[in-house]
Subunit: 274 residues, 2 copies
Amino acid sequence: MHYCLAMSNVSVPPALSIPGDATTTVQSVDRAVTILEILARSGEVGVTDLARELGVHKSTAFRLVAALERRRLVEQHVGRGKYRLGTGILRLAGATTSRLDLVQESRAVSRALAQRTGETVNVAVLSDGAALYMDQVAGSSALQPHNWVGQRIPLHATSNGKVLLSALDAADVVREAGAMPSFTANTITSLAALTRELAQTRDRGYAIAIDELEIGLTAVAAPVRNIHGEVAASLSISGPTFRLGARRVPELAEAVRAAADEVSSRLGWRGPHE
Amino acid sequence: MHYCLAMSNVSVPPALSIPGDATTTVQSVDRAVTILEILARSGEVGVTDLARELGVHKSTAFRLVAALERRRLVEQHVGRGKYRLGTGILRLAGATTSRLDLVQESRAVSRALAQRTGETVNVAVLSDGAALYMDQVAGSSALQPHNWVGQRIPLHATSNGKVLLSALDAADVVREAGAMPSFTANTITSLAALTRELAQTRDRGYAIAIDELEIGLTAVAAPVRNIHGEVAASLSISGPTFRLGARRVPELAEAVRAAADEVSSRLGWRGPHE
DNA sequence: TGATGATGTTGCGTTCGACGCAACAGTCAT
DNA sequence: ATGACTGTTGCGTCGAACGCAACATCATCA
């Protein structure tokens, strides 16, 4: 029973390059960030390929990665000249999670929920067409299946993804959900079915995914709202399907919803004033 | 019993700015990375303060953070104009851990060790005067105390730190260890004592830290070597002192050493050919 | 073994992009 | 209102970053 996904193979929409106001930007910084994203997507890449993807000269690409390498954001594979992401990124990431309100406020709640239920708790946000895991607390029952923090997961096949999608209007759902590839026989692949599922999610206040991303993996998620009442994140509980059977789901859904509401109120949400 | 440290308070040497060959660098990229590191260190910072620390004009600092913000590497606190690190960093970090050889090779070994002992396993590398946690597998016995991935921990007060220091020569030890602040009554604070401890670590092939970083926290660590035989990382097992008592340490030390050697061999190390 | 292709790396001259300036637009305290 | 702060933007200048081309290495292949 290894419900540890080979994330590298999960197709996720590429980062869209937002032109936006080209007025206020710094070209070389923008290119440097693009290099980081290319490396994140492709693993090891050489200067020549980077230059081709950026549409710049080889020497320009080289100087950019050299600048990043000096600061440890990328590393160079010894011998072979290829470049990859470096440890500097992790240093920054450690600081990020300890700074963001969402993670700070949710951690205590997540921990209590994990302890009470014995299952793994995750917190995710919407990020360019995927669910980005921000925090994770492993349950006591089992060994932690995988550290998903920083990983990006398809929206249409996960409980967290459905919750995050359920707050969007139809047009945005189409844009964010994208191609909807199939992972198991239970994966939702049609837009109509997804729309129905999202309506149901909104009605009952939580989402379920049973064997949709991987056989044997079940999850239940509920929305976390910010001070304006918008869905800012999703809090989920997940574990093996045999332990999170249909009989236990209602009870867990209630617990997840309560936990998510608790985080929401810590973020300043004062409930639905209608 | 909360052996979850308030990491923000642990003093760690600031990132030293390496001038190096100023020939091959890109000024604005370098400044942008500096901004990220300032934000990692200080949390929320405004444009004016960033400009002061960088030694540039306000408008320059603004354009740099704006470029980073467009790519989600920094976020702007609504209302208050302060900036902080953003979710883009986490996206990159997720890719980093799944790409680095060390993490890939160590994960299976760490998981097995955590399962067999029931305690938490960590993998750390040396990073600018601190131990940087690269990966963590929570033990089954207890709730995972804290997600330390990406966190930087003092070298002189941890088993991982001692292992990483034990591979350096005297001058480097002084440089990396730095001020050696005291965290508990058991913290090693004198250079002489640290030197003795490092010699012992080299001799027996593992390091111990009992109540040195925090009362009630015990850890045992062993070196992971790369293909050249250099100490590339440190693998540790940690848990509450009452469970990792002196009686159990020898057994755990042997297990940690075996696990570290296994990772070493996967990285290409072929044992001490003397 | 030398030729040919590929890679990453570096010096140099030019041009375009990033910089500093200063004015603007807000917010909060006095 | 005034002042003292913030973050933001148009503009002209100057230097930093770019493209070019040559170089250094390493594979592969004749």
